[in-house]
């Protein structure tokens, strides 16, 4: 008689050598049952079950911890933002102010910057959090990300005093500058009552200044994202893991049941089999998470850096979460298998997966509803599209299993006609258990669909951003709008610093009554005006623009026709002195810039040196910045979907491998005739890789169709055909890898197989 390799036999033969005979009392029996389960789990096929459980535990704990850490990071961020938020003095009580505090926006590249002008008015006042002292006049403290954002930003706001500490920043990527303006009378022009402050630490969310961090959404939205894109796929993986290699376990439980083992003992045997694998996954996840918490990791796609101190603040939650995952998964493993088997015998019987036809209809219905929603647009159209797409993606794997059944039958018939045993076995298996393919396609095709839709959604924001970038890169960077307080008094210094030939000014048109629409006058030297178009002559006195210019350059058209660079329509143009008086909000500069980003930086530097609270803008910039900010937020989808895709891929691959290897056990007698890997790899290829390639192609088509419908919905966006093809190749390769691995394992089992009749 050969040694038993089957887990059923291991369990059945264990009592003779196990501590069962010496067990005393309830605790002893508990330990014995756990030990029997643990030993049984080490039998053939147990490796895949253990790997599945460990993988599920790892990803489940990781997902839970990401959610917990997101809450902690959010709370820590809010805490720091509250601490730095200024507390304004009471209305009219400016005398009690200890400092002045005034925030203005700026930009670096496609990101917003918060520039905080501050000045201590009462000596001994503690500086804002993150600063070890108040900045001197003409000095600026910058956040580390702002220093690193672009060359020259260090000197943009004044002399560089140092970087802002973590206590003064919401997060690592925030772009903030604390500036003490060089002009002594700067704050005389700042009339906002909120600029008089009596300290810091204001919890009022309304007064929070514009933050430039990259995820301004509530933590509830992040929770929803994690639930949909990571937790649900993890749940799918858990379901696959707890039932992987279930046939062997069911037979063992049936045997224990036949021997009269009570439910408690069977539950303990199951727990004994699973707990170490689950604990391995949990411990690994704890180690990874703890190691991550010691660093300040930068997330992929978003480039968002999470501070180690924030992650460490979430570590106290880790033991509780780990224990929850361990207990829940062990419990789930027990509950999934503990039911009393309906079969009374322990002999293996054929299992059938009945795939009803209704998912087919549901899939087509989902597509139809999505198509209707895409055409109909509006609110109900969008709802229809989302509902239809979800239904189609859920029903697709079930339709795939029906397709697999048909495919399997055809394959077996073809193999039979050709006398090919590989195709006969692979085809019959596929027809008998199409769920293998359904699971793989559920994992990979749904993943493809999610990635495609995510890509379209992302590009709906990045598309306009790219267009806006094109617009201002085409000619807008050559013309910079600068606005500030009290321009008549400060213009001379600014103009001299840049060179008068580069600066145009616009000012309120004199003589306009309060009832009339406000207009402005554009003034500047001839050299500057020539940049706007061909002139009949250099107007020494104010003339309408159409009388001055015979033909406009694109820049001139942008200034004189589009009108989004000046605060009111231009009524006249001249080389004369700029008028003063009128509405101060209508004043501004248009600066000609022929030096790109370095020139822009010089303009900003001069503005911060000579003007009061300057704000610069480029054509299309506000739209571009808004779009870029939204695009940055949608990239979070990809970050979170990464966990979900990993869970789906693991669920599909492990589930399919489990079923294949369970089937491969039945090949035992045939393994007496063939032990070569090629034979078993051939079966795995026909049973897994080739059908998966076919289903993958169909899934890619469906994903492309849904992506197209989403684009048609009206918000634009685009999807990349190469990305879809890469997805298809990944699906096919995944099938090939699983097939190769399964073929190798089946061949190894074949060599080790021995008849066990005695």
């Amino acid at each position: 008689m050969t040694l038993p390799t089957d887990t059923t036999t291991v369990t059945a033969s264990s009592p003779a050598r196990s501590p069962l005979r010496t067990a005393r009392g309830r605790g002893g029996r508990l330990r014995v049952a756990l030990a029997v389960g643990h030993r049984a789990g080490k039998g053939s096929g147990g490796g895949l079950h253990r790997a599945s459980l460990a993988c599920a535990a790892f990803l489940a704990l990781l997902t839970l911890w990401v959610s917990a850490a997101a809450h902690t990071v959010h709370a820590e961020r809010d805490h720091r933002m509250t601490a730095r938020n200024p507390v304004s003095v009471a209305q009219g009580d400016t005398g009690s102010a200890v400092a002045r505090w005034w925030e203005r926006p700026d930009t670096v590249g496609d990101r917003s910057v918060s520039v905080i002008f501050v000045r201590e008015t009462r000596p001994g006042t503690p500086p804002p959090p993150g600063l070890d002292r108040w900045p001197e006049r003409g000095e600026a403290f910058l956040s580390p990300s702002l220093v690193a954002a672009a060359p020259g930003t260090e000197r943009r706001y004044g002399s560089f005093g140092g970087t802002i500490g973590q206590d003064g920043l919401a997060d690592a990527s925030e772009l903030v500058a604390y500036v003490n303006p060089v002009q002594p009378g700067f704050f005389g022009q700042v009339l906002e009552p909120t600029s008089y402050v009596r300290g810091f630490g204001n919890p009022n969310q309304q007064l929070f200044f514009v933050s430039s961090h990259q995820f301004d959404r509530g933590v509830a939205e992040l929770d929803l994202l994690i639930l949909l894109m990571a937790a649900l796929p993890c749940a799918a993986l858990i379901l696959v893991a707890v039932r992987s290699r279930a046939d062997t376990r069911d037979r063992r439980l049936a045997l224990l049941d036949a021997l009269g083992a009570p439910t408690r003992v069977r539950a303990l045997v199951l727990a004994g089999e699973s707990w170490k694998a689950i604990a391995t996954g949990v411990v690994t996840a704890c180690a990874v998470v703890s190691a991550l918490s010691l660093t300040s990791p930068t997330l992929p796609f978003t480039g968002y850096q999470v501070w180690s101190r924030d992650l460490r603040a979430a570590l106290p939650d880790l033991p509780v979460l780990a224990l929850e995952v361990l207990v829940c998964l062990v419990l789930l493993t027990v509950l999934a298998a503990i039911r009393r088997p309906r079969r009374t015998g322990t002999r293996p019987t054929r299992q059938r997966d009945r795939t009803p036809r209704w998912p087919h209809a549901l899939f087509l219905l989902g597509l139809a509803v999505a198509a209707w929603g895409s055409e109909h647009r509006q609110v109900e159209g969008r709802f229809g599209f989302v509902a239809g797409a979800v239904v189609a993606l859920i029903a697709l794997p079930y339709s795939a299993s029906h397709l697999a059944r048909v495919l399997g039958r055809r394959l077996a018939e073809r193999g039979g006609a050709k006398g090919d045993p590989v195709r006969i076995v692979a085809g019959r298996w596929l027809a008998a258990r199409p769920a293998t393919l359904a699971r793989l396609s559920a994992a990979l095709v749904v993943g493809l669909g999610l990635v495609t839709i995510g890509q379209v959604l992302t590009t709906q924001f990045t598309g306009p951003a790219a267009e806006a970038r094109d617009r201002y890169q085409a000619y807008g960077a050559a013309l910079v709008q600068v606005r500030s307080r009290d321009i008549p008094a400060t213009a001379a210094g600014f103009t001299t610093a840049l060179g008068p030939e580069k600066v145009l000014r616009y000012s309120p048109e004199p003589g306009i009554s309060a009832d009339e629409e406000p207009t402005v006058r554009l003034t500047g030297p001839c050299e500057s005006l020539r940049a706007l178009g061909q002139m009949t002559s250099c107007p020494a006195t104010p003339k309408p623009a159409q009388d001055v210019f015979t033909q406009l350059t694109p820049m001139g058209a942008n200034v004189l026709r589009d009108g989004d660079l000046v605060s009111a329509p231009i009524a006249s143009v001249c080389t004369c002195q700029a008028p003063s008086g009128g509405d101060k909000a209508l004043y501004g500069f248009l600066v000609l810039n022929s030096d790109g980003d370095s020139g822009l930086n010089r303009i900003k530097q001069a503005a911060y040196q000579h003007l009061i609270g300057p704000m610069t803008a480029l054509p299309g910039q506000s739209w571009y910045l808004g779009s870029a900010a939204q695009a940055a937020q949608t990239r979070w989808l990809l970050d979170i979907a990464l966990i979900g895709l990993a869970a789906l891929a693991a669920a599909g691959a492990l589930g399919a491998a489990g079923i294949f290897l369970e089937q491969a056990r039945a090949l035992g007698p045939l393994s007496a005739f063939r032990t070569d890997r090629r034979f078993y790899s051939g079966i795995a290829a026909w049973n897994l890789a080739i059908p998966l390639g076919i289903v993958g192609a169909a899934g890619a088509l469906v994903a492309a169709l849904l992506g197209g419908l989403l684009i048609n919905l009206g918000k634009g966006g685009w999807m990349s055909l190469p990305l879809l093809l890469v997805g298809l190749v990944v699906v096919t390769l995944a099938g090939a890898v699983v097939a190769l691995a399964c073929g190798a394992v089946a061949a190894r089992h074949a060599i080790a197989w021995r008849p066990q009749g005695d």
Binding site: P348, R350, G416, K418, P669, W753, P755, Q756, D758
Partner: protein, 234 residues
Amino acid sequence: MPPTPSGVHARDLHYTIAGRVILNSLTLHVDRGESVAVTGPSGCGKSTLLSCLAGLTSPDRGTVTIDGQDVTALAPGRRAAVRLSTIGMVYQFGELLPELSPLENVALPALMAGAPASETYARAESLLDDLGVASVIGTDCGSLSGGERQRVAVARALIGKPRVILADEPTGALDGETSDNVADLLFALPASHGCALVVVTHNPAVAARADRVLAVRDGRLHPVHESNGAVNQR
């Protein structure tokens, strides 16, 4: 008696596992057209002997010759090829592939050996007919009775026209009448198909049908009786 070139011949087989001697200088000769039943208590080494004869287990020492070819000297892949072309095996539970039809199960080893499909299916149908299970050809393997399953398994063992048939407790899972039917069928094979038959069994009634009955004791084979009642001297 010198070994004959046909049939199955084991000489001086030794097999030890975990310090326990399973086979100890065991010798067995079974010619084509002859049947031998191997009996003995559980754990005495009957199935190990059968595995050694089939080339599934390599003995520590000794040789196994199948139809004149020393299988112990072959690599595992070649041994599998010898099994495919020379040996038919029958197991306690039939060990059919449940997803395949009985006809496909029977045809599979021959197709694996590269036999033409049409010829193989015709022979498989003929064998199933001969063994009295023609009616189950198109049915589901999961619905076969124990006796039907074993008959299909015997047909599968015969599809490759083997020179040796090895059966491991072929009636162990069957009730009395079905067991008798399957045993009658098996022990008729040496005469009808000209092959050597080695049957491992616990059942004395089944063993009694063999030309010779041998018992494994202390790792060796000991004659029990011949079918005519005389003690076996070989």
